[in-house]
Symmetry: C2
Subunit: 353 residues, 2 copies
DNA sequence: ATGAAAGCGCTAACAC
DNA sequence: GTGTTAGCGCTTTCAT
């Protein structure tokens, strides 16, 4: 019996790799029994279990996940495919997904799908290569939504309504209602000339379309019509593009008295430019956004925004994936889950006395 | 010969897993030859290569990374251990690391080490479990730095000076010089009562100590002494904590005329609170930070900050890991690499005319 | 309740 | 240049 690999487990230096068979030999049992102990298999006597666990600790055994993956055909990874980590919305979401996944012993692979070309790479590497047990995908643009069919046969959970035609589970927010509520709030403040920044119909970004729908509903209900000169598209929904676009709005013969921004990054950029231009927010123009980034509590003035329950969103996504991965639920019909939101009113829409 | 698995590769539905041996059979060669082709092994005749490549495409072969990892003892993963994605500095860094890693066909596993306890988990799962070919670690607090010894026998690259005693490569910025430059800039603007927010000696965060050193050097050179009542510690270097701490500074009998913030998040929080309190920045108090977050171009006023070359930082880290993973360079002495920075002056320290 | 043995798909000596 | 042969460490029937 070779016990040169034994030790406290904390011994520094190059200790040889410890396998299950080493542990089995050390404990005087078979590899299968060791495996049973590791998997909390019920049919192991307490004494055997104790013996094996002692050996596990004594030898400092660590499972080799590659071997486990090969033998079990489950990798222990899930992929989270998001446009990019450079948006607080996504980095926060990623954090929550990692936490939720950890509860099922899943490790999260983050794939940045800045362009649909990169999504394709992600699919190849992650989805197609048997590398992951499941994929959580936020199909940001419609071109990405088309791609979802490509790997619809995997365990796939979609975030948002994009690609909802696919036969996959999806977890979403009620973006239409959220947008409607923001606009209703703006209307309640007496605003009637509401412009949009980065929100318009037929946008390649699905989220934009939904927010536009809510925008229209609220205006309709108030008997107002949508003015196309107030619909400002944005190449990217980021601060610099938003700041630049504000000038166009201010140059209109009849400038808006409120701006509904696609997200808080857009809101941040808009606020900065309005300030530079000497516009008083909210007195001259009110501004609102979506996502409730932490930053929005600290802008000048603080930004009214919609807060999504991202923790719940992440949790539901992982839950769905977990349910599908249990073979029982594998072929149940797709589930649609809606998570909550709330409007956080700050001084960018309501002046303080 | 079983060719039921054949197809265009784009056929939807459950196509059976294609192995190298299937490809070999289809091409009429051995599995080794297929492997040679896949690895761009030189000794393959052009005709054989073409034949194999055709079969590869015809059958829609995808390598099984678990099997490859088990056989080759290389997983194709590297870990990036950072405090958290909720700081733009880290999420930007993560993006760059992913890009750099992709050039070496590495997939990046992001581990959030919010506390050192979690770092330990990361070590267990990632570093210790033969799951990764290397680790890039930013030991944020000194307690984390101690942990680095635990897996110093892995391929490990440290970011920053923390844990630099270990025998690992490290890639760092010249934080001391950067801090000195900011303070020199402040002094050049005629500021003499410079406070710090989240920067102090003996901080458990290594980066804080270094910035403090640069701060002291600049004051010394100007013949000024460090006032301990101006050194404001922060429980977390984030906006809310910074905003709260500003009140303490303003309550001093002789308030500061400049605030050096640990990072731009702190700067953002400080600016917001100063604004609320009716303090004019920069006329009454100048504010500067570190990291040059995109946000800092949009705060009120825009925030003077130090910009690090994060892309270079990421690239160097991955390069070092790659060099070590080639057995030739494995036991060369540790390398220290310093990447550049530059001071970006904005209106939080210099009033516009 | 535990053991024996096969095999997951790939890589890497080593022959030919 | 190409084929043969062993494993990598684990899971998983199937016996016992």
């Amino acid at each position: 019996m070779d016990i040169t690999a034994a030790g406290t487990g904390a011994v520094p230096g190059r200790s040889r790799r410890v396998r299950q068979s080493d542990v089995a030999a050390h404990a005087g049992v078979s590899a299968k029994t060791v495996s049973n102990v590791l998997h909390d298999h019920p049919y192991v006597s307490a004494s055997t279990r104790a013996k094996v666990e002692a050996s596990l600790v004594a030898l400092g055994y660590r499972v080799n996940l590659s071997a486990r993956a090969l033998a079990s055909d489950r990798t222990g990874f899930i992929a989270l495919a998001i446009p990019g980590l450079d948006n607080p919305y996504y980095s926060e979401l990623a954090g929550h997904v990692m936490d939720a996944a950890a509860q099922h012993d899943w490790i999260v692979l983050i794939e940045q799908t800045r362009s649909s070309a990169e999504l394709e790479t992600a699919v190849v590497r992650g989805g197609g290569a048997q590398l992951v047990d499941g994929v959580i995908l936020q199909p940001d643009s419609t071109s990405q939504a088309e791609l979802t069919d490509r790997f619809a046969h995997h365990n796939l959970v979609l975030i948002g309504e994009g690609g909802a035609t696919a036969s996959s589970d999806h977890v979403t927010t009620d973006a239409v209602a959220a947008a409607r509520e923001v606009v209703e709030h703006l209307l309640a403040q007496g605003r009637t000339r509401i412009a949009t920044l980065g929100i318009q119909p037929q946008d390649r970004a699905n989220a934009s379309e939904l927010r536009y729908r809510g925008f229209c509903q609220a205006l309709d209900a108030a008997g107002l019509s949508v003015r196309s000169d107030y619909l400002t598209p944005l190449a990217r929904s980021r601060r610099p593009e938003a700041a630049a676009a504000v000038d166009g709005l201010l140059a209109l013969p009849e400038p808006p008295d409120a701006i509904l921004c696609f997200n808080d990054l857009v809101g941040s950029g808009a606020l900065a430019r309005l300030r530079e231009r000497g516009i008083n927010v909210p007195n001259d123009i009110a501004v609102a956004g979506f996502d409730d980034n932490e930053e929005s509590r600290f802008t000048a003035p603080p930004l009214t925004s919609v807060s999504w329950d991202l923790e719940a969103l992440a949790q539901r996504c992982v839950e769905r994936l977990f349910a599908r991965s249990r073979s029982g639920d594998a072929h149940l019909p797709p589930v649609r889950t809606v998570i909550g939101h709330r409007l956080v009113v700050r001084e960018s829409t309501v002046a303080t006395s």
